[in-house]
């Protein structure tokens, strides 16, 4: 069966090497859904998965003249996709670094550790609550956590006193934590992991 799949792929690749766009379309239709759904598992956002799909197939088109028919197209597709997933995952993680820091400082119970926090939910929840902050407080919070500026640097940048910045950050932190707790998110997040842990054991 695998041999037949490879034979079909080889036929399409031979045509693709000659610039046949119909063969390119057939390969996209054959592997597009698989690649999209697979990458979505690591990247979480459908926009990221769509961009990845676009980039991977564009690369295949650009390198079509060097495609080989004696090796598996699936392996070639995976190699391009893996590098793209890896880069995008790291980029996304850098963008979410402030959430990781905030969670570590304020939400992680030191006795239970980081394994008790549902990452996806905490990212969604913190982003949602940050958006509810008043404009000035939100700006100060973002400068502190996203831009990683010190209090005195934020004060200089915005023309405020350092004490004011410190107070605003304290109020913002309390608001975010209380908001999450009010909605019992921490409890549900922890419960989820306790259950997941029992399942795996």
């Amino acid at each position: 069966m695998n041999l037949r799949i490879d034979d079909i792929d080889n036929g399409l690749i031979a045509q693709l090497r000659n610039g046949n766009k119909e063969a390119f379309k057939l390969l996209f239709e054959k592997y597009g859904i698989r690649l999209y759904q697979f990458s979505l598992k690591y990247l979480r956002e459908k926009e990221d998965a769509e961009d990845l799909l676009n980039e991977v197939f564009l690369k295949i088109w650009e390198n079509r003249s060097s495609l080989k028919t004696d090796t598996s197209f699936q392996s070639y597709l995976f190699t391009i996709a893996y590098n793209n997933i890896r880069q995008r995952f790291l980029q996304k993680s850098r963008e979410e670094k402030y959430i990781q820091i905030f969670a570590e400082e304020n939400l992680v119970d030191s006795s239970k550790g980081e394994d008790q926090v549902d990452y996806t939910q905490i990212v969604q929840k913190i982003n949602k609550v940050i958006d509810l902050l008043p404009a000035r407080r939100k700006e100060i919070f973002n400068l502190s956590y996203k831009e990683e500026l010190k209090n005195h640097e934020i004060a200089d940048k915005l023309g405020l006193s350092e004490q004011f910045v410190k107070n605003q950050l304290s109020v913002a932190r309390k608001y975010i934590i209380s908001n999450i707790k009010e909605n019992n998110h921490i409890a549900s997040l922890l419960l989820f992991y306790l259950l997941a842990g029992q399942d795996s054991e």
Partner: protein
């Protein structure tokens, strides 16, 4: 240091903790661990069964892709693109050569006039003898000047009174 596959599988399963996220980030960043991670992800890829029912319509992505490849200047394969570039360079050289040749031949029939002025100056109290290119010998009185032009045809245009030996 070896990787812990559990963290990768949990991220892939989309039910993962902050710890799993941080560990996978570390694995991806570390070039020594990367090959191990790649093998785990490859295994997931090979075993992965997509669900067409839960997939959005990917046609817009393909049309975007199709539009991009149709409008790219470098949409030709690399080999063909290199041939095209060499052809362009050759065409530029041939056109340059043709222009240079046509300029050269268009100037060839024209008379090239190169003129040169020759001066004889005689100071006070002396008379000077001079000899012209055609062999004519003459004398220039004192306080006199003789100027003439020599061109390719050796024509002489005197602009002073001279005494010549005939």
């Amino acid at each position: 240091m070896a990787i812990n596959r559990k963290h990768i599988d949990k991220v892939f399963g989309q039910k993962f903790s902050l710890l799993d996220q941080k560990n996978l980030e570390r694995y991806f960043e570390d070039s020594n661990l990367n090959e191990e991670v790649r093998l785990v992800v490859k295994e997931q890829w090979e075993q992965f069964v997509p669900n067409p029912a839960s997939c959005p319509n990917l046609d817009p992505i393909f049309y975007k892709l199709y539009y991009t490849i149709n409008n790219r200047e470098d949409s030709a394969p690399k080999g063909r693109s290199l041939f095209l570039r060499i052809s362009q360079i050759a065409a530029i050289l041939i056109v340059g050569l043709l222009i240079a040749t046509s300029i050269y031949f268009s100037n060839d029939g024209r008379e090239k006039v190169i003129t040169q002025q020759v001066e004889f100056i005689s100071r006070s109290g002396f008379r000077n003898q001079f000899k012209l290119p055609d062999g004519t010998v003459g004398w220039l009185g004192y306080n006199s000047e003789l100027r003439y032009h020599v061109d390719n045809n050796d024509r002489i245009r005197p602009s002073a009174t001279i005494f010549c030996k005939v």
